[in-house]
């Protein structure tokens, strides 16, 4: 079955691919891969820039220092470092979360945020007037307050087991209440943003050096799997990020 389809492009390089494709209607270009910008000779320059070891992405757009440390500690419990590889902290997830909360998504820019607001039934989904950035801030304050009250310590000074217990309380949403929002709403943001930060393209600030992807043999952004899609054996492919796509 392997290569009976001679009409498939043979090479997965973009240039080769283009030679084989002819994506046009009587001269009218409909395929973006033909765009001139894709042939820029910038590749070498881009590579020079990343050789520098300073990561300018690692600074804060939204959190203060305490919020950042709290987030770093909490997301490490969601996705901890272990024998399989790094945890959320090392992967830069707290930077990812910071950047997301500062983004249009953090202020629900593309959500319907017009009133009147009513609590609604669970089947009706999110109905709060609070923005994600606000919910997260309130949740972090809640983590700080709860740790102080229950353990008389800062969340970041709790043992891992105590941190886990605290997060379980927030996940369940019964024992401890927040004014204006719920601990469960905060927790589900924390959980989903942690997973995003582990696996989103490294350009967003997490998934440092694609280590999130490497842990699960995920190859990231590849141009084509046409040659391999039928294969029985599992393919371990060196991952590529969107950065690798620049200059193509």
């Amino acid at each position: 079955m392997a290569d009976t389809n001679s009409k498939q492009p043979k090479s997965s390089s973009r240039r080769e691919f283009l030679k084989n494709s002819g994506i046009a209607l009587g001269g009218l270009v409909v395929g973006g891969v033909l765009g001139g910008s894709l042939f820029g000779s910038k590749k070498a320059e881009v590579e020079k820039v990343v050789e520098k070891s300073v990561n300018y992405n690692q600074a804060l757009m939204f959190f203060n220092q305490e919020q950042f440390q709290l987030t770093e500690a909490a997301c490490e419990r969601i996705f901890p470092q272990d024998e399989h590889g790094p945890g959320a902290k090392e992967l830069g997830v707290a930077f990812y979360i910071d950047h997301q909360l500062a983004s249009p998504w953090g202020i629900n820019a593309k959500d319907y945020m017009t009133g009147p607001f009513y609590p609604g039934e669970p089947t009706q989904g999110m109905q709060t007037s609070l923005k994600r950035a606000e919910i997260f801030t309130l949740g972090l304050q809640g983590l700080a307050d709860y740790s102080k009250k229950k353990y008389n310590k800062r969340f970041t000074d709790l043992t891992e087991a105590e941190q886990d217990e605290t997060l379980k309380v927030f996940e369940a949403g019964k024992e401890y209440q927040l004014a204006g929002t719920s601990t469960t709403g905060f927790f589900s943001l924390l959980r989903s943003m942690t997973i995003e930060g582990v696996y989103a393209d490294p350009m967003y600030g997490g998934n440092k050096d694609m280590q999130g992807w490497k842990m699960r043999n995920y190859p990231g952004n590849q141009m084509s799997f046409a040659k391999d899609i039928e294969k029985d054996e599992f393919m371990k492919i060196e991952p590529k990020s969107l950065h690798d796509h620049m200059g193509h």
Binding site: V30, G31, M113, T123, Y204, M223, A226, L242
Partner: protein
């Protein structure tokens, strides 16, 4: 005051699949057409950074901006409807190509049974089989009548599928224009298991091209690269059939299409008998513009087709108490929560590779392909294994009992990241008198127009169907020999939060009788002969397949009707 433009022969509202097909057919026939699209223009060069799971799949880069417009939802009339504030259950298209730019491309013609569901059900089981309140009705067209239009869509899009006729689906007049997609190990395991159980598996027909293809309009497109960033993403290769790389360039090349993006239609103008044009807002300048036209084609997706008719007071609004009236009637969705998940401890699959429409399916339990005499539901579902590309943020299957975070979650989710296969059912959704669409009394869009209100819930029909199909999927999964498997068949209330499918249907349904349907078999409005309302809004119920094959066929049929109407006028039936 709105600016009034000179009158044009035809104005099309919405430039997705339906609008694109109609624009191309009319302009090729020499008709001058204005195409109004509320969103921006698009081309494949926009997809330079397309392989970005966060931006496209989780932040909905290509979808309608809900801050401007959404729907409201309640399960029943006793509840207060509230806005869908953030995305969940379905994702609405916006911009040139509509949802046709970020669909999967899974292609399945509805069954002959679907088009005559009421007659055929009564014929086989008697009228009592149809429960009280279930408003299934025939579509006013048969499969055989629609067959040539399916064929037309397939040739335009280059649908890839098996040469052999599958015994469970409607007869084809021609083979698919391109061979089927490639077969992955997971697909093979599913098909082998299904064959062992004497079912009739086939490779899902696909609008992701299996090989380079030149269509009858002279459009040439490249083959699919199985890149795994397909549904919710645009295809940088132009391999996925999308209006922007198929029908719209054909219409533009004729010189007869006046395409206006950033043009949000707010009203259909009419004199009580016929439409006289539309009003739209230029969303860049804020200017309100009146576009008079001899003929209005509504292709603004199911939800806005209904909403614009209601806000423009065109056609008789549906009344759920009496079951009379038609606009908003028979809203339906898709029953697809039946699943069998297999965990394979000692196998790894390349499931991170894939294509939007890559997979295999059986139709043995779809439509009326099996005996319902002793079952307490009608219709059925396709059972399928699809390999659309398991991306890491959204795909973290873990066996039941695993916590959703922490050490165990990390360990299990890494372990099973490439060792899980899922069979899912995609089932029919049948209409009820109390499921409908109307205008929300409270919430408005950015232009001050009321939002559409959805009143919808799952019924026992859906729960029984789902359970039965999930059990069948479980039997097939068992044959595939997983280490562990889990079958999910429970269905509570319809919830608008989790993504299910963008297969909303009904509201402007077709039929043979003006008192029970809104449009005839050419999708021409009974109440306004120069208005054609095209899309899955015409479905009298939703079948057990993805909708676009049938939307495409109906669009070609409507285009033919429009050309006829331009020549002869009057009602076409």
């Amino acid at each position: 005051m709105s600016k009034k433009l000179p009158k044009v022969p035809v104005v099309i509202v919405g430039m997705g699949w339906a609008g694109g097909i109609i624009a191309s057919e009319l302009t090729k026939a020499g008709v001058k057409v204005v195409g109004l699209e509320r969103g921006k223009g698009r081309s494949t060069s926009d997809y330079y950074m397309a392989h970005d799971e966060l931006r496209y799949a989780l932040r909905y880069e290509m979808m309608q901006d809900l801050s401007k417009e959404t729907v409201t939802f309640r399960n029943n009339e006793k509840m207060r409807a509230l806005p869908m504030r953030t995305y969940g259950s379905f994702l609405l298209g916006d911009g040139l190509g509509g949802a046709g730019s970020h669909w999967n491309g899974q292609y399945g013609r509805f069954l002959p049974y679907d088009f005559e569901i009421r007659s055929k059900t009564i014929e086989r089981y008697g009228e009592k089989k149809i429960p009280k309140g279930m408003t299934i009705q025939d579509w006013g067209i048969t499969y055989d009548e629609l067959e040539p239009y399916f064929d037309k869509y397939e040739k335009m899009a280059g649908i890839s599928g098996e040469a052999e006729q599958n015994p469970m689906v409607g007869k084809r007049s021609n083979p698919f224009p391109t061979p089927p997609m490639k077969v992955t190990p997971g697909m093979k395991m599913f098909m082998d298991a299904a064959k062992k159980l004497n079912y009739h598996p086939y490779i899902i027909p696909s609008a992701n091209l299996s090989e380079m293809y030149k269509n009858p309009d002279g459009i040439e497109r490249a083959a699919c690269q199985y890149c795994a960033f397909c549904e919710r993403f645009g295809c940088e290769y132009g391999a996925k059939a999308d209006p922007v790389v198929t029908v719209i360039p054909v219409a533009e090349k004729t010189g007869n299409l006046d395409l206006r993006t950033h043009s949000n239609v707010t009203k259909i103008l009419h004199d009580g008998k016929k439409a006289t044009g539309v009003v739209y807002v230029n969303t860049i300048t804020g200017e309100e513009i009146e576009q008079p036209a001899d003929l209005v084609v509504m292709t603004s997706y199911v939800l806005n087709n209904v909403r614009l008719l209601l806000t423009s007071k065109l056609g008789k609004p549906y009344d759920p108490a009496s079951g009379k009236g038609v606009i908003g009637k028979n809203y339906a969705y898709q029953v697809n929560s039946g699943k069998a998940v297999g965990f394979f401890d000692d196998k790894e699959f390349n499931t991170f590779m894939g294509a939007g429409a890559l997979g295999a399916e059986i139709s043995d339990f779809n439509g009326d392909n099996f005996d319902h005499s002793n079952l307490n539901f009608l219709h059925g579902a396709g059972i399928r294994f699809t390999q659309t590309g398991a991306r890491p943020i959204a795909t973290n299957p873990v066996p039941k009992g695993t916590p959703s975070w922490g050490k165990d979650f990390k360990q299990q989710s890494l372990k099973y990241a490439n060792s899980t296969l899922t069979l899912a059912s995609q089932g029919a959704s049948l209409p009820w008198q109390h499921h409908y669409l109307d205008l929300d009394p409270t919430y408005k869009d950015a232009y001050g127009t009321p939002l559409l209100r959805i009143t919808f819930d799952w019924e026992d029909q859906d729960r029984e169907l789902n359970k039965y199909l999930a059990e069948r999927a479980g039997e097939i999964m068992k044959e595939m020999n997983p280490t562990k498997m889990e079958v999910s068949k429970e269905m509570k209330s319809y919830n608008i939060t989790p993504y299910q499918s963008t297969h909303n249907t009904g509201g402007v349904i077709m039929g043979a009788d003006p008192s029970t349907s809104a449009v005839n078999s050419y999708l021409q409005m009974w109440d306004a002969e120069n208005v054609f309302v095209v899309g899955a809004s015409a479905f009298a119920h939703n079948g057990g397949y993805n909708p676009t094959a049938t939307v495409g066929a109906l669009s070609y049929r409507a285009a033919e009707g429009i050309l006829k109407y331009i020549k002869q006028g009057g009602s076409l039936v």
